[in-house]
């Protein structure tokens, strides 16, 4: 879906999404690109929207959690709910989209791949063991359904 906004070019994508477009699934936590709560996919790359100026994102495909979950069918979402990953849930949109970008690159990631991809996406509730399980479960669901790359 194409959206048009009137915003200063240097305004971070995060605030354009949240405050101008009302897409509040993308979360603010540090504003400095340190935690990953604000992660969106920009042409399928995991990108921290709090440090991405909106003009950089113009004319690119932006996938927020709302778009990613629109049909509720992605194996990662099923795995996330199945493993009951979320506690407070605040960082989870960023976790899910970071994991989605990993699965785009590697359809069957090893523990080392998962560590490397997820290390800098912070969760204060400590849902890390369940995130790992959910990523593996999603990878095998995709393999099982003939999905993947």
């Amino acid at each position: 879906k194409k959206r048009t906004v009137d915003a200063p070019p240097e305004m971070p994508l995060l605030w354009v999404l949240r405050d101008l477009l009302g897409l509040t699934g993308t979360k603010f936590s540090c504003g400095r690109g340190l935690c990953g709560s604000c992660t969106v996919l920009l042409d399928n790359e995991a990108t921290r929207s709090c440090v991405t100026a909106v003009d950089y994102a113009a004319d690119k495909n932006i996938t927020t959690i709302e778009g990613f979950a629109a049909d509720k069918k992605h194996p990662l979402l099923e795995a996330w709910i199945g493993e009951d990953v979320s506690q407070c849930g605040y960082c989870q949109p960023g976790q899910i989209l970071t994991a989605a970008a990993l699965l785009e690159r590697k359809s069957n990631p090893t523990d080392t791949d998962i560590d490397a991809a997820m290390a800098m996406t912070l969760c204060r509730c400590g849902t890390y063991p369940r995130i790992r399980k959910a990523i593996k479960s999603a990878a095998s669901r995709r393999a099982g359904s003939g999905g993947g790359q």
């Binding site: 504003g31 490397a116 912070l122 790992r132």
Partner: protein, 690 residues
């Protein structure tokens, strides 16, 4: 006792036992404000609609600990409701309807257990009476299961079909609660009701509240605790596109804008001079020095038995150690925020809060409104951990909303959140112990220096071990640093100190640390059982290869007992925490899946404080700002966690916090086993231990 007589007096009595305070909330009449005419709503906790939907009110706050699921499970169990038809509704602040809504002290399930069971059982009983009278049979010939009443001859009626009839019945004077062995829902692994919304990004946190025409604000506060505004110049701020106003509020300068980013930018453009006040030169070094000189003298005696001083003097061997822990912050992922709308003679507030009633009370005071003109909606929150028990962020929103007359969301930056927290206290501790010739402890002395009394000695005031002579003393000193509840509060530090020092005693006595503890727990049978359970599950007695170490710790906190065995590896002096095996006895396990999640979370939170977290003060200011200089445990640093729930006949205990206190001592004790290094100062890195 499974039959409870319902009279107003009994409800007050039960609630007083369970909640520690007067609770007038359990009303048996329908809450007409919330329910449709055809609904059956025998009390404020539940209503059943003709379409069979069961709506259960949750009066505590959901912050990740799972109360949106565990509390409805308690009602649904006694109601024999079909879980698939259960919906929840988050309660607004209302002390009269709901009693305490404070969500802290791992108290939500414990504090609601009896009330919610009775709420469900009362409704179930009335549905049985309704069906029996329709069928003209005895109630004893009817049974309930999965939202149906079943009667003789295969007859059945759904709860939805019985609502009108049940609603006309008198509320029974007594109800029978189930035997715990008959539970069919409690004790099963139930997926949290909010799991889909949190995965789809549709869950509404405090920062996600959106109202027509709302504004966004950011407040510049004095970086020094207690400081005030001397002068400010907002002319540059007002030029930022989107900034609509700049106002001085009681605790700073608020920049109000049409979006959050403009408010932040406007705030950066402010010029403010501060009256820094009496703490302008405070520092961590000065605080430590103050604690150190206090500890040279005896403190206030918090608890004692026998005569520790005499026993120490005549002991065969003595040990002495100094333990210290820094200030730590909560660092919730969602920064503090609140949305408020003041409309003349009323105010509406949307708060991600662990405690909506103080927000309601303080807002009413600030605005000069009666309590019933202040509505507080509780949103989901991106972590609580004790931080959101304090109403300060709510009052920020009320003050700004009062000034602008439009709905306004006050948003703290990450830096605000780190610098204006209510911190876990820094403490300095002297411990002394005396052993007899067999290595048994005969004396224990713990002298604590720290700021404020909040939780300073809890978890340390009574050693759980058989020690005939002990004394616990405190020095409570004002440091100017705000102190608050931090997940597991006193036991988060004192659990570490007591369980590390008892480990030192075991090694001094040349005893196995598990067997040593076990031999001294005659007065704490539940803790002893939990300790044994963890040791067994972890294979404590199995030898470990060189370069690995195991440590054990056990703590009784928040109505539950928890023991943990940590296993670490050391390679070239670098320690890795491989695995934590946990045994927890929390009485009836309402939702085992949530219990496991809470233990995993408590371990991550505890390890962050053990390994990384430290707030330091200089020139009266917190020196840390964000996730780069105040760090939390990362994904790749999380050890494997294995949780075992101890089968238990104990009464219901807490679960949000009890998993935290044992983790740090278990890890420290394991590091001692592996390296011979005793850790007595937090935080400690894992890199240079060999």
């Amino acid at each position: 006792m499974n039959t409870v007589t319902i009279s107003r007096r009994d409800f007050i009595k039960v609630a007083t036992v369970a909640g520690g305070g007067l609770m007038l909330g359990f009303r048996l009449q329908s809450d007409t404000g919330a329910s449709a005419p055809a609904d059956f709503a025998p009390n404020v906790w539940l209503r059943i609609a003709p379409d069979n939907t069961v709506t259960i009110t949750v009066a505590r706050s959901e912050m990740g600990q799972g109360v949106w699921t565990s509390l409805p499970m308690i009602v649904a169990e006694e109601l024999d409701a079909d879980w698939n038809m259960v919906r929840i509704e988050q309660a607004d602040a209302h002390p009269v309807k709901y009693g305490s809504q404070s969500t802290g002290g791992s108290f939500s399930v414990r504090g609601s257990w009896q009330t919610l069971r009775m709420a469900g059982a009362t409704a179930r009983d009335m549905l049985l009476v309704a069906a029996a009278s329709k069928w003209k049979v005895a109630k004893s010939n009817c049974t309930a299961a999965k939202s149906f009443v079943h009667g003789p001859g295969g007859r059945r009626l759904s709860y939805g079909e019985l609502t009108l009839h049940a609603a006309e019945l008198p509320v029974p004077s007594s109800v029978k609660l189930k035997e715990e062995k008959d539970f069919t829902l409690i004790g099963t692994r139930v997926r949290k009701l909010d799991a889909p919304a949190k995965a789809y990004g549709t869950a509404t946190f405090g920062l996600d509240v959106r109202l027509p025409g709302m504004l966004f604000a950011s407040i510049q506060k004095c970086p020094v605790f207690g400081g005030t505004v001397a002068l400010f110049d907002a002319s540059a701020s007002r030029k930022i596109p989107g900034v609509v106003d700049v106002v001085q509020v009681e605790n700073g300068i608020a920049v109000i804008a049409t979006n959050t980013w403009a408010a932040f930018q406007g705030r950066e453009a402010l010029q403010v001079a501060w009256n820094e006040g009496k703490w302008a030169s405070q520092s961590s070094a000065a605080i430590r020095k103050m604690f150190e000189s206090a500890l040279a003298n005896r403190g206030t005696v918090e608890n004692y038995a026998g005569n520790a001083e005499t026993a120490l003097a005549s002991a065969a061997a003595t040990l002495e150690a100094v333990y210290e822990a820094p200030f730590v912050a909560h660092q919730t992922m969602e920064p503090m925020n609140c949305t408020a709308w003041v409309r003349g003679d009323s105010c509406e507030i949307w708060a991600p809060t662990q405690s909506p009633q103080p927000i309601q009370t303080q807002a009413a005071q600030i605005l000069g409104l009666p309590l019933d003109k202040v509505t507080v909606h509780v949103t989901l929150m991106g972590g609580g951990f004790g931080r959101r028990l304090n109403p300060d962020f709510g009052m920020d929103a009320v003050r700004v909303a009062k000034a602008v007359g439009k709905p306004v969301q006050v948003v703290w930056t990450r830096e605000d959140d780190t610098r204006h927290d209510w911190y876990r206290p820094m403490t300095l501790n002297i411990l002394k112990a005396g052993l007899d010739k067999d290595g048994k402890p005969v004396a224990w002395m713990h002298r604590i220096a720290g700021p404020s009394s909040r939780g300073l000695v809890t978890g340390g005031s009574t050693p759980p071990y058989d020690i005939p002579n002990f004394v616990i003393e405190s020095h409570i000193l004002d440091t100017g640093v705000p102190i608050g509840a931090w997940r597991s509060v006193g036991p988060s530090q004192n659990g570490w100190i007591v369980e590390s020092f008892i480990d030192e005693l075991a090694h001094a006595a040349r005893k196995d640390p598990f067997e040593y503890r076990r031999s001294l727990l005659s007065q704490s049978p539940r803790l002893k059982r939990t300790l044994e359970y963890a040791a067994e599950k972890a294979g404590w007695s199995k030898p470990l290869p060189k370069g690995k170490g195991r440590g054990i710790a056990c703590v009784d906190s928040f109505g539950s007992t928890c023991a943990q065995v940590a296993q670490v590896s050391v390679v070239h002096g670098k320690v890795t925490i491989d695995r934590i095996v946990v045994a927890v006895d929390c009485g009836p396990a309402v939702n085992p899946d949530t219990i496991e999640a809470q233990i995993e979370g408590a371990i991550a939170y505890g390890l962050s404080a053990a390994l990384k977290d430290e707030i330091t003060i200089d020139k009266g200011r917190v020196q840390q700002e964000s996730y780069d200089d105040y760090r939390m445990l990362q994904f790749d640093e999380m050890p494997e966690v294995e949780v075992h729930i101890v089968p238990s006949t104990e009464s219901v205990g807490g679960i949000g916090e009890p998993g935290l206190p044992p983790v740090t001592p278990a890890v420290c004790n394991a590091i001692f086993m592996a390296t011979g290094k005793r850790i007595r100062k937090l935080p400690f890195g894992l890199d240079a231990m060999g």
